[in-house]
């Protein structure tokens, strides 16, 4: 009996409202992965050929600041999406990602999906629409961080 990831994708909020034929196409590019705490998921500058949906665990997005060392700039936990660099040229990661805890995720082959989006623009629209929502939310969060809300006014 072949188990596909279609039921998991169908139930995931990220894919909510997507047509079955698109879910089937996406499931064909996805697989289950697990990382131990401390595992590097991707490195800054490496080809960005995948994205992830965290099913359980916590992933840190980090980069090295001279004289400050490795700094965590954000984390993604259960149900959240990791990675959008696979969508836009030059398809390279801009940060490091590391599992903070033992993490189960769905990994999606970005190259495979990009090809399918080129062939089926309806699928492409659905994918980009969902990622734009995430980009918007993260831009908003970043703006709030830039405000340094908890900083002392002296």
């Amino acid at each position: 009996m072949i188990h596909t990831l279609e039921p998991i994708l169908r139930d995931h909020p990220f894919f909510q409202g997507m047509e079955d034929r698109h879910i089937q196409l996406i499931a064909g590019c996805s697989m289950n992965v697990r990382f131990n705490a401390g595992d590097v998921i991707f490195h800054e500058g490496d080809p960005a050929d995948q994205f992830y949906l965290v099913r359980e665990g916590l992933v840190s997005v980090q980069f090295v600041i001279p004289n400050r060392g490795l700094t965590t700039i954000t984390t993604y936990g259960n149900g959240e999406v990791l990675g959008w660099s696979w969508l836009f040229p030059p398809y390279r990661w801009h940060f490091d990602a590391r599992a903070q805890q033992p993490t189960h995720a769905l990994a999606f082959d970005g190259k495979c999906l990009r090809g399918k989006c080129d062939e089926d623009h309806d699928l492409g629209y659905e994918i980009y629409k969902r990622f734009m929502q995430i980009v918007t939310e993260r831009l908003e969060s970043t703006r709030l961080l830039l405000l340094d809300m908890y900083g002392n006014i002296r």
Binding site: R68, L70, T71, T72, G77, N78, G79, M149, Y150, R154
Partner: protein, 280 residues
């Protein structure tokens, strides 16, 4: 009625400092007992006192202690101005003046039978701690209790030891996030609002209490409403410059309300039209 029997609302009661606890780099807690042991004092979670550093000035500070453990009073304060700077210099045994308690309180009773979401940002956890004490004291009366707490860095977390104790002792979901952290931090990094979409509560039966910087509260409200929490069951604690604390002087006017008298705890639905308006 004899005038002498009515306490003068502008007259502070002397309290003796029992302990000064350094919470973070710029935040400290004063533990106080009345000099007159017969002095009666009670308060509800969310109310504040006016604290008078003699010869320097008076500031409004939320009460952060257990409402069921009076007369001991705790006030957690951040050093931000002349009075709080002078307050930080006070030592055990020094005297400070207290007027209060003033203002409205968190609707802890309205939350009975519901999930409770407490969203705190920075020092905003201090005015919410009395509500947490009350919720923990009557834990069986509430469904899920979720504390979402955001601070600037891990070192800025308030009451860390107590939160860890509560997490172990009670059925309390605590999610902490910081704005930035070194790689040694094993928890969440990001703004507090990002925890709302996946926090474990039933939005159709949730009451939310929020305290923190005003921007944080506005965005937290937006996320809660987006998640499905009814606007009329969202409460937040406002902050404005106060002088008298009893609605006479008008310093803390916030649209048609006075924060000292009609707040500091407001139903979001009551102040939504003026929240975030630069003219107010």
């Amino acid at each position: 009625m004899t005038a002498g029997l009515v306490p003068d609302p502008m007259l502070p009661t002397p309290y003796r400092i029992q302990r000064v606890r350094q919470e973070t780099d710029d935040t400290f807690t004063l533990e106080l007992l009345p000099e007159d042991s017969s002095h009666r004092f009670s308060f509800e979670p969310g109310q504040f006192n006016m604290l008078y550093v003699f010869g320097v000035g008076e500031v409004p500070i939320s009460i952060s202690s257990d409402p069921d453990d009076v007369p001991l009073l705790k006030h957690t304060t951040r050093v931000v101005g002349t009075v709080t700077k002078a307050m930080r210099q006070l030592k055990r045994g020094d005297t400070i003046g207290i007027r209060g308690p003033y203002g409205t309180h968190w609707p802890v009773q309205e939350a009975v039978g519901r999930d409770v979401v407490i969203a705190a940002g920075g020092i905003g956890l201090a005015p919410l701690r009395p509500a947490l004490y009350r919720l923990m004291a009557e834990r069986e009366r509430y469904h899920k209790i979720v504390l979402l707490y955001g601070t600037r860095t891990p070192e800025d977390m308030l009451y860390r030891h107590e939160l860890e104790q509560w997490r172990g002792k009670f059925d309390l979901e605590i999610q902490v996030t910081v704005d930035r952290a070194a790689s040694s931090w094993r928890g969440n990094v990001g703004v507090v609002t990002t925890m709302i979409p996946r926090a474990p509560f039933d939005p159709s039966n949730t009451l939310a209490m929020i305290c923190g910087p005003e921007v944080m509260m506005r965005f937290t409200v937006m996320e809660l409403v987006k998640r499905g929490v009814a606007a009329e069951r969202i409460y937040l604690s406002g902050e404005r410059n106060m002088k008298c604390g009893i609605g006479f002087c008008g310093h803390c006017q916030f649209g048609p309300t006075f924060v000292c008298k009609d707040g500091p705890v407001f139903a979001y639905s009551h102040i939504a039209p003026i929240l975030g308006k630069s003219e107010v």
